[in-house]
């Protein structure tokens, strides 16, 4: 029997295919296409302290083999989320990873406190790729100090053994440096990668196409960047589990991230093109792993790092 189980920090999952934060809402809309228990976990859209309208439209632009988005974290705020979305997901029997985002270190602390007693959550994904209003809108994950501060705030307030997965941006000179910093600050696992900062200019209006000017690039276009980031971080921190993401649209793509070092894989943009992408990817991945002679997913994690023998 093939063993598809995986873990991130102390959390165990039946299989390694998750949704990506912001690409599956809170699961409701996908539930009409498949059973959410089929997923390793539902990663919910990053939730903030207060309700947020998000950015003005246009919020998206298609790009070659990818897309740009600037949603601006639209959402109901943590209280309504805990009141409505979490109970619903629990009812479905889904494994839940809650993604949180803050505008200040204090936000992260409060969010963690609000979540510490909540039943039925498997892990916390801490999205630190968002602007820090206290530091000229600089993204937390862009500087070691702010990245550390945000994760420390969560660590101090979450208590118990809810694993913290720190989600990093690739838009830095050294992602390994940031990874080391957040692990030192208490992250149990890492989520790699968030979107890449990009821009599209509309040839007709001759202005940036998105109302927010810049946006996050996702989809197959960025997969080589994701694989590189995962490989580099796994090389430097082989014992820290990675939730990989970035352009995964097939089982082979997922396997690429796993061989690079990911213990689980989130699927984002591919769901927009195909609502059942996660299910297809999960099946294809299992077939690929078996075809390659693996007895378990775990054996394949980071396999691309093995020493070359008799070249």
């Amino acid at each position: 029997m093939f063993n598809f189980r995986t873990s991130l920090g102390q959390a165990e999952f039946e299989n390694p295919i998750f949704t990506a934060s912001g690409c599956a809402g809170s699961g409701k809309e996908l539930a009409q296409f498949f059973d959410l228990t089929e997923l390793g976990a539902v990663v919910t859209k990053s939730i903030m302290l207060k309700a947020r309208s998000g950015r003005a439209t246009p919020r998206m632009a298609e790009t070659p083999s990818g897309m740009l988005n600037s949603i601006g974290l639209q959402g109901p705020g943590i209280d309504l989320f805990l009141e409505k979305d979490i109970p619903w997901l629990r009812e479905q029997g889904a494994r839940i990873v809650v993604s949180i985002a803050g505008e200040s270190v204090e936000d992260y602390a409060i969010l963690a406190r609000k979540l510490r007693a909540v039943q039925g959550i498997s892990a916390l994904e801490v999205n630190i790729s968002c602007p820090n209003v206290e530091n000229r809108g600089q993204v937390f994950a862009c500087q070691p100090a702010t990245a550390r501060a945000a994760i420390e705030a969560v660590r101090r307030n979450i208590g118990g053994d809810l694993p913290i997965i720190a989600k990093l941006t690739p838009d830095v000179t050294s992602i390994v440096e940031i990874a080391e910093e957040v692990v030192a600050a208490g992250a149990d696992a890492l989520a790699l990668i968030n979107t890449v900062l990009g821009m599209v200019i509309d040839i007709n209006t001759m202005r940036p196409k998105l109302a927010g000017k810049t946006g996050g690039l996702s989809g197959p276009a960025i997969r080589p960047i994701a694989v590189r980031a995962i490989y580099q971080v796994h090389e430097a921190l082989p014992n820290v589990k990675i939730l990989g993401m970035g352009g995964v649209a097939s089982g082979r793509d997922a396997l690429e991230l796993i061989l690079a070092g990911a213990s689980a894989v989130s699927v984002g943009t591919a769901t927009f093109g195909n609502p059942t992408a996660v299910i297809k990817i999960k099946e294809e991945l299992q077939n690929e792993l078996i075809a390659h002679g693996f007895d378990s997913l775990r054996e394949a994690v980071g396999y691309a790092h093995r020493k070359e023998v008799n070249l």
């Binding site: 296409f33 207060k50 919020r59 943009t269």
Partner: protein
Amino acid sequence: MMGINKNASQVIAEIVSNKKVGAYHHMVFAVGELAKFAKPGNFVAIAVGGESSSMVLRRAFAIYRAFDRGTNGGLLEIVVAPHGAGSTWLTNQSVGFKVDLIAPLGTAFGIPTEPIRALLVGGGYGSAPLFGLSEVLKNRGCRVDMVLGASTAMKIYAPLDGKRSVSSLTITTEDGTTGITGKVTDVLPGIIETNQIDIIYSCGPMGMLEAINQIAAELGVVHQCAVEEAMACGIGVCMTCVLPIRGEDGEIRMLRSCIDGPVVDGSSVIWSSKRQIPEGTWGAN
């Protein structure tokens, strides 16, 4: 009117017909059972570009007509304007080619229970969903008038059999190549008054919908419109397709036009809010 369209499903659908009509392509797909769930106002989302396409997102098209003819016979029709790479690719596919299609998606036009007087207004390919609607309205005993507008004659989509169910059809073109020279909004007030219109149903470019809404508001006519916002997913998970809508509680929210639309109450939309969040919107700070 709001919420997930529980009837949506994903099928591999064969192209049964693909004909050029004026500036558009009228395309028919064999979709099986799901045809029976399609309501006027709903849309389909089709994957474009083939296997190794650089286009990762589906394209949305309003359903023109749907024929429920049992499991294997269900047909779904759309009208496509070859515009950019995605729609051009689609119109270039031949009969027999199979596409990945999700339908029916989104909200439908609300159908009155009384036999009222309806005016249907379409811009360009926006006329497509109106013919199915007029059929339904007529069957309910409504009087249906129709106004179609476009920049030029080639962009008026008004097939003969579609026109059967309307009592009057007025056409406007900006260049005067057919019908009255001008915009649909030039003729609306007159038609509304003459025919004592109770409700306007509209579909077309956002600017047109806004202008119609203003006339509807001024003349006190109910207005349901099918909006068209750029959509990444079409099924409610990406939050790209939002527009500001005032709810019954008075609160403005950024609602998803793929789930809470495309058909919305025109008076609830905060128009002219492109590139900015309207003041007072829920969660804006």
